[in-house]
Symmetry: C2
Subunit: 256 residues, 2 copies
């Protein structure tokens, strides 16, 4: 991920990519900072301290300062960050200065919810087309868009310059839909189907698996219960454990 250049090399037009190769974790936090900055701007703030912005975004301020240093934003001592400038910088890096066209495939319950989710439009995206493989759904109007048959994807993707596809189909259909999206020129996919997609290099996939989020919370519930269990309960929990979990080997492995 790292790049090494002589200072000033980036001034040679075309000699380097226009964007730094940011750590993925930093990229994932930039939208949080942007949302917090928009709220601050709406509230009339022209500057914000790193502590204030970190608090609004729910991260620690040291991490925020390092993230923003990747953008060349260091703030001004005693003043903080210029809210409007930082908004411009983050929106540029995230490519939000252009409104991206999104195709949504699969208009079941989740697809309906996503098609009606106004958080997309307000944050730089336009749901440009809805698709489904079920002919009986074709023509149905959802949030002002008519559902089209998936076979129309190649033509519509070209017409609407669609670069991002959202898959809200059942798992068995998702891989085929991903391949249709890629064949239609889509290079970023947000996948809500509970399965792993295989895509060519150069295609980015983000996965949202709602049950996985609950299972992660379930771990924390289970762990909190085990930590607060009485010795007897703790013991019985241990004996209830399928073989191997608390062998000395495991204890060594923990914390590595």
């Amino acid at each position: 991920m790292s790049q090494h250049r002589h200072p000033g090399a980036s001034d040679r037009a075309g000699a380097v990519p226009a964007l730094p190769d940011l750590p993925e974790a930093t990229v994932a936090r930039l939208p949080e900072y942007l949302r917090a900055l928009h709220n601050l701007a709406d509230a009339g703030h022209e500057t914000v301290s790193s502590e204030g912005l970190a608090g609004a975004a729910g991260v620690n301020s040291a991490k925020l300062r390092k993230d923003l240093s990747h953008l060349g934003s260091y703030g001004t001592r005693g003043v903080g960050y210029d809210v409007a400038l930082l908004v411009d910088q983050i929106e540029f890096v995230l490519g939000l200065t252009q409104r991206r066209a999104v195709a949504l495939v699969g208009v079941g319950n989740l697809g309906h919810a996503l098609a009606g989710y106004d958080g997309f439009a307000s944050r730089g995206f336009r749901i440009a087309a809805l698709f489904d493989a079920d002919a009986s759904r074709v023509g149905e109007m959802i949030s002002g868009l008519a559902v089209r048959h998936i076979d129309e994807l190649p033509r519509v993707a070209a017409e609407e310059a669609i670069s991002i596809g959202v898959i809200a189909t059942p798992a068995p259909a998702a891989q085929a839909v991903a391949e249709q999206l890629v064949a239609a020129g889509v290079t970023s996919i947000l996948n809500f189907a509970p399965c792993v997609l295989s895509v060519p290099d150069g295609v980015d996939v983000r996965k949202v698996d709602l049950a996985i989020e609950l299972q992660i919370l379930s771990f924390h519930e289970h762990r909190k219960a085990s930590l607060t269990a009485l010795p007897a309960a703790g013991g019985s929990a241990l004996t209830a454990l399928p073989g191997g979990l608390v062998t000395p080997d495991t204890q060594e492995a923990i914390g590595t």
Copy 2:
């Protein structure tokens, strides 16, 4: 996160928690392994190699082996992992041996989709109650459950032993709902509202922000475009950039 104990200390009932303090990234991957293992079991496989399981879960096999070593599962050379045993171990660690009751607050489009999402029931969770603050929605039947008024949360949470709350309300309402959930004894929250929740220690929050997922993909779209841009285009992209991004300082910061 790390724990240091004498080998065998964990045999003293109650002397240690029943569960290891796993790295968060490992916890986040366990559900992926579990889903892949269920698919393998359904296909009649009794054992699986680390490479096979890693491929099915979409991670590299070295990472998979390290993750599973935290559970004391090392597989058998030349044989691999016992699918059924590994399913038991992961389900135990994730606390899925008991079916957890979930309360869903906010029954707009997204709430409807979540209430109807059969991925929850099939993976260890039971949507036990639906709540909304809008009295006109109270009594509405969604997926066999009647929507209740949020004021009923404390009584219902106790009756149903609800430990996980899902917030699908608009952002302005989310913090108040989180506080009502915590007051009702909920200690894990899955938040779909685009805002940061402040909760007491001991309460775990997972956040799913659909627009943020798209903004992260937008960064990759923007970056791919900048990398494939012609020198001239690259230059103009640079000049279009709000101040600071490609200063020597930034170049130094990149890759740290």
